[in-house]
Each structure stands twice: as C-alpha cells, then as structure tokens.
C-alpha cells in the first residue's frame, strides 16, 4: 500500500526501536540492582527474554504516524510561509508551528 506516497521504512524504524528498547532494558536491569556481576552469557539470555519486540502491522502503523507528523508539519509551516508572502519555508516558520504541532501529536 501507499505505492505512490513515500513513507518510512518499517525495518529501519524497527532497528531504531530495538536500540531504544535495549537501552531501557539495560536501565531497568541496573535499577533493579542486578546482584553483583552476572556472567555475560547469563545476562545475554535474560536480556533476550525481556526485550520488547513489535509486530509488522504495528511498525507499519508507526511509520504512518511519523509520515503524518512530517506531512502536517510541512502543511502548517507552508500556511505560515504563505501568510507572510514567502515562497520558501524557513526555520522561523517551523518554529512558529512547532509548539502546537508537538501538542497535537
């Protein structure tokens, strides 16, 4: 789907998600105060069990959410640029719309 509209790649997003989830898993582990230093092998197994994953549909939907965010940002910034009579979206236009945009997403 979305053959003509470019969007984000689910696999790239999944990589990024997994990196974040690895980080949080590590933080949780540290916060729980792992008793002493476990052997690396044991740590790996427990981490693998705990790490979050995502299913394919969820990733596609997340890509769409990011696409909507960007599309909406461009749309709103374009309106501001238009109102100022400029034909190029500059940083200042983005600055104007960013606070409300972040509240809306």
């Amino acid at each position: 789907m979305q053959a003509e509209a470019p969007t984000f790649r689910p696999d790239v997003l999944h990589e990024l998600f997994k990196l974040v989830w690895e980080e949080t898993a590590k933080e949780v582990e540290e916060a729980e105060g792992a008793p002493g230093e476990e052997t690396p092998a044991a740590a790996d197994i427990s981490k693998k069990k705990r790490n979050t994953t995502a299913n394919a549909h969820a990733l596609r939907l997340s890509c769409e959410l990011l696409r909507l965010l960007i599309a909406e940002a461009v749309g709103r910034a374009a309106l501001v640029a238009e109102a100022e009579g400029q034909d190029c979206i500059e940083g200042s236009h983005l600055e104007r719309i960013l606070p409300q945009l972040l509240l809306d997403f």
């Binding site: 509209a5 990196l19 989830w21 995502a54 960007i70 599309a71 461009v74 960013l98 997403f105």
Partner: protein
C-alpha cells in the same frame, strides 16, 4: 532535496547493508554505548532520507500555493522525527508492558495517537486495512489534509 543522500540510492544499495545490520543485532545483543550511538547515527541518516522524500512529496502535492523548503527545515524535521520515534518507542514499550505483553501491536500504536482524534481515525483505518481482510472496502486513505486549527 538530493543534497543529502540521494533518495534513489536507498532502494538498491542500502538494502543489503540493512540486512547485515539486522543479523549483527540479533547475534550480538550486548553492544557498547559507542557502538549503539554509531548505529543510531546511521539510522538517523536513513530517517533523514525518508523525511526528505516525504517533505518533497508533500510540497509537490500542494497545488494552490507553491512553496519550497529550505534545507535547514528538512534537517530540523529529520531531527524531530528521530527524537519523536525514540520517545514513541518508549511509549509503545510502556503500553505493551502495561497490557502484559512483550510485543508491541497495533493497539499500542493507536493508543500512542490518542491525543489527536483525526490522526487516530486515519491510523485506525489503516490498521483495519492491514489486519482485517474481512472488510476490504476501506483500503487506504491517501493522507491527512485537515486537522483542527488549520
């Protein structure tokens, strides 16, 4: 828009590289902080290409008023997307864990979009198209054109 990585290149050349990444990540879960940052950096570059393409598409889709987008804005949007994606990842993880799951599913993503009914509506439509083959009437919506406040 082709001042950073050529968007056309992503289809062919980078595919292989990506699969390699995946394998590494699977086989070697314990990455050092530095490696992780490097990997993130590369993913951010990928995202930037995607952002540039989405922006390009969005601008050319406008018929009433022609605008261009300054490169600074594209970079800023790419940065925003990466940051947003990272916070989205944390949200999704929390939602899934709260539901007693370790796999993020479509409902978690819909919950992440709860604050904006319009976005949520678009995403639910997509979710239905993705998951339910029993209702083939709704295939997709090309995009979101109007949000409150526009």
């Amino acid at each position: 828009m082709d001042r950073d990585n050529d968007p056309a290149a992503i289809g062919g050349a980078s595919n292989e590289e990506e699969e390699e990444d995946e394998l590494e990540l699977e086989s070697e879960p314990a990455l050092t902080q530095a490696e992780r940052e490097k990997r993130k950096e590369r993913l951010r570059d990928r995202m930037k290409v995607a952002v540039a393409r989405v922006v390009e598409n969005e601008v050319t889709a406008r018929t009433d008023f022609r605008v261009e987008v300054s490169p600074v804005v594209v970079s800023a949007l790419a940065e925003l997307t990466s940051k947003y994606a990272e916070s989205l990842a944390r949200d999704l993880e929390s939602f899934a864990h709260h539901a007693g799951r370790k796999t993020v599913n479509v409902e978690d993503v819909l919950l992440a979009a709860r604050r904006n009914p319009d976005v949520k509506a678009v995403l639910s439509d997509q979710a239905k198209a993705l998951t339910g083959q029993q209702q083939p009437k709704k295939r997709k919506r090309p995009g979101l054109k109007a949000l409150p406040g526009d």
